[in-house]
Symmetry: C2
Subunit: 438 residues, 2 copies
């Protein structure tokens, strides 16, 4: 099957920002076969899609999410310490496999509609998220959570570790699902369990992800011990190029040097970090030292929209302001972090992240129909400062069209919404307890 | 004519955040006539619109824009000092009345589509913007610019002042257009001309708007004179409740006290300020001292999207981060600034800004169809942290429906885009000179 995407403004995200203002991309089966100016487009494709001048780019990579937290969205957004005040207890009381599965279906649908073609998740009952990944066709790096308290899917840390290993075994070598251990955070998991997670990551040759240097209390905890979260993880043998550290807001220069030296990757969640008033991460400094990073939406109750387009604009605003420099991180560079930067963090640069012959056909088409996308001198600027999820008109993963004309092809989102609404009854009942704070 | 908007989640923005989760609003001619729970909805309306549970709120007020800068959008977004390097010269070379008119038509269409029902503009040939306002039906507070350099529509400051007064005369008492003087900024206009603008505002009983405490060079300039932009304006007799000061990023505590004491209003442009790396304005402190403020998108080449929804999210992120406090400015309060707060800055609280019987029917309906707007525990949160312009499905100004089913009713935006594109030829040619920096 050869699909020709023609008359697009193609942003390849290859070195040197190669672009074709009127270009084509030829997809053969699951891979990108050829690309170039439309005047050279092949005539023998099985199917031709006219992109009408829209921007064609590699799929967005979402490096940090808790997709199954859809039922929590708009609950206590402005409530301090909500993690302990209602999120943890409500999860324990009312999050089960069916809710995780239906929420994942819904949230993955939302991510595809915003142009995300690969995502990293961490939550409970991650095998249910895996089921949703397989049904929807997105790529999932799925982290089964290990935590030192009673969790929705495990009574204690040991049970969580056992669950985690079973999940790693079950999905080893899967084409869409990459399973990984996801210890919750630096203070919410014991040192022994953190080390055990590191061993699991090595044993199953995969990544490991957790929350790092995110919370004020976390920083105070390690300050009291004369160290930092990053240095603590290093002391446990976890700071290496398997580590995808989410958030990393409060870093010392020594932390940054250590991360660069050990090859630690960062999932930067600017929207979630700022909405919670936590701070602006020192990404300029991380980048100058060579620490790979990409963007994360965080869960739908933390970042609210599952869209990397939103994160790019917030990132530009935040970094330029923190460093008082308009020219810092020009739009083309920001789009690189959002696509191939994310792929690099997942050790997947040879699979996706650029429009390059031989790579997987994970592609996004952004329509220029909306009022805010005219004129277009700089397509990178248009994407970073102007576009939103509603502008995404077509999405392909591994050569299969999963979004066309702004609609999902494999799923009917309104009907999933109704199923999810139906499954949310006990959850809503349990949430009543927290009515005063949410 | 009685139009019933039924089955909406009505956010009245009245004191105490009165809302009707399943509510109605009855519009009679140009005004809001009644509202309440849908169970009490009147049965004798001439027309009934089922809002299908969407969020109905007062129209957004945009306190700072240069709407006719649409042709500059995505031009040199990341270029430092672009005002002097290419914006001023390119305006002088290539901005004429026809381009201003067509750009205003386009930009106003874009604003209506994002739910903005009243806006403050400052630019050249403002009579052309007024023409566009009358054709489109939006409310415009239109500032004719006075500047101490040769401008597109006036050779010098004196000519600009004469133009400004002619414009004030022409539109005095107009139902949709409120004309006002718009001296460019604190360092780009002479002291005499600033005073003359103040006199014009008093003579024609209107507001005055200009850029204040925005640029680093501006702050340095006044520091060198041992003062601040705000204190300088006060020394010229301009700091009073007619003054709508745009940006106000760099304020001293003394500035803030002075503004509060004199009743100065602020157009806060968080997106434009942050994208340019200029800083986060001390809005918490302004608010605590009682300085009225609302949001501005700034022009389409500064803020990129003409959407107050985007500004609300950026505002929440910026202020909570600046003050390291998640609970600062909860979503309901942010929506108040975006609606009735804006109306108050325009001394128009008795005309619009709330859903209240007797006020003008300036209303916005946000559809909940998009994936990112489910579930909905807190509609304020959904608007601030989730919604974007594409979610706005219906907009009414003074009882007339100007947007329905996400489309403009009075204008055809694609055809205006094509006309504007056609008129942009000489502009694009003139821009060639700056190719290396844009």
């Amino acid at each position: 099957m050869r699909i020709l995407l023609d008359h697009a403004h193609v942003l390849t995200m290859q070195d040197g920002d190669v672009q074709y203002p009127d270009g084509y991309v030829l997809v053969e089966d699951d891979r990108i076969h050829a690309l170039g100016p439309s005047s050279d487009a092949p005539q023998d494709a099985d199917r031709v899609i006219d992109c009408h001048g829209g921007i064609l780019l590699p799929g967005f990579v979402n490096l940090h999410c808790h997709v199954s937290m859809v039922p929590f969205r708009t609950m206590g957004d402005d409530c301090p310490d909500r993690l302990n005040r209602f999120l943890f207890p409500l999860e324990r009381d009312a999050v089960g496999p069916e809710l995780v599965y239906l929420s994942a279906l819904y949230g993955i649908g939302e991510m595809l509609l915003s142009g995300i073609t690969a995502f990293v998740d961490m939550y409970y009952f991650e095998e249910e998220v895996a089921r949703a990944v397989c049904e929807t066709g997105i790529r999932g790096w799925l982290g089964e959570t290990v935590i030192s308290q009673s969790a929705p899917d495990a009574e204690n840390e040991a049970a969580g570790l056992a669950r985690c290993e079973a999940f790693l075994k079950q999905y080893a070598g899967h084409p869409l699902v990459t399973p990984l251990p996801a210890p919750h955070g630096t203070t919410t998991v014991s040192a022994d369990a953190l080390k055990a997670c590191g061993e699991l990551a090595r044993k199953y040759d995969t990544l490991l992800t957790l929350h790092v240097s995110e919370m004020d209390a976390e920083i105070r905890h390690f300050e009291g011990m004369g160290t930092t979260p990053v240095q603590y993880l290093d002391s446990l043998g976890l700071a290496d190029n398997r580590l995808l550290a989410a958030h990393c807001i409060h870093l010392t220069q020594e932390d940054i040097r250590l991360m660069a030296q050990k090859g630690v990757r960062t999932a930067h969640c600017v929207g979630s970090n700022m909405k919670a008033g936590k701070g602006i991460a020192p990404i300029r400094d991380l980048h100058l030292q060579g620490v790979p990073f990409g963007f994360g939406t965080d869960g739908p109750s933390s970042g609210n929209t599952l869209s990397i387009l939103d994160q790019m604009r917030l990132f530009a605003c935040a970094q330029k302001t923190r460093y008082h420099d308009r020219s810092l991180f020009p739009a083309s560079q920001i789009l690189r972090f959002a696509t191939r930067g994310g792929a690099e963090c997942l050790h997947a640069r040879d699979r996706f992240g650029q429009i390059l012959p031989g790579l997987q056909a994970d592609l996004v088409l952004v329509s220029l129909d909306a009022a805010h996308l005219f004129p277009l001198y700089n397509p990178y600027s248009a994407l970073v400062y102007g576009a939103n999820a509603s502008d995404v008109s077509l999405v392909m993963v591994g050569g299969e069209i999963l979004v066309q004309d702004h609609r999902l092809t494999r799923m009917d989102l309104p009907s999933i919404r109704e199923k999810l609404r139906g499954a949310m009854g006990p959850f809503l009942q349990a949430a009543e307890k927290y009515r005063d704070i949410i």
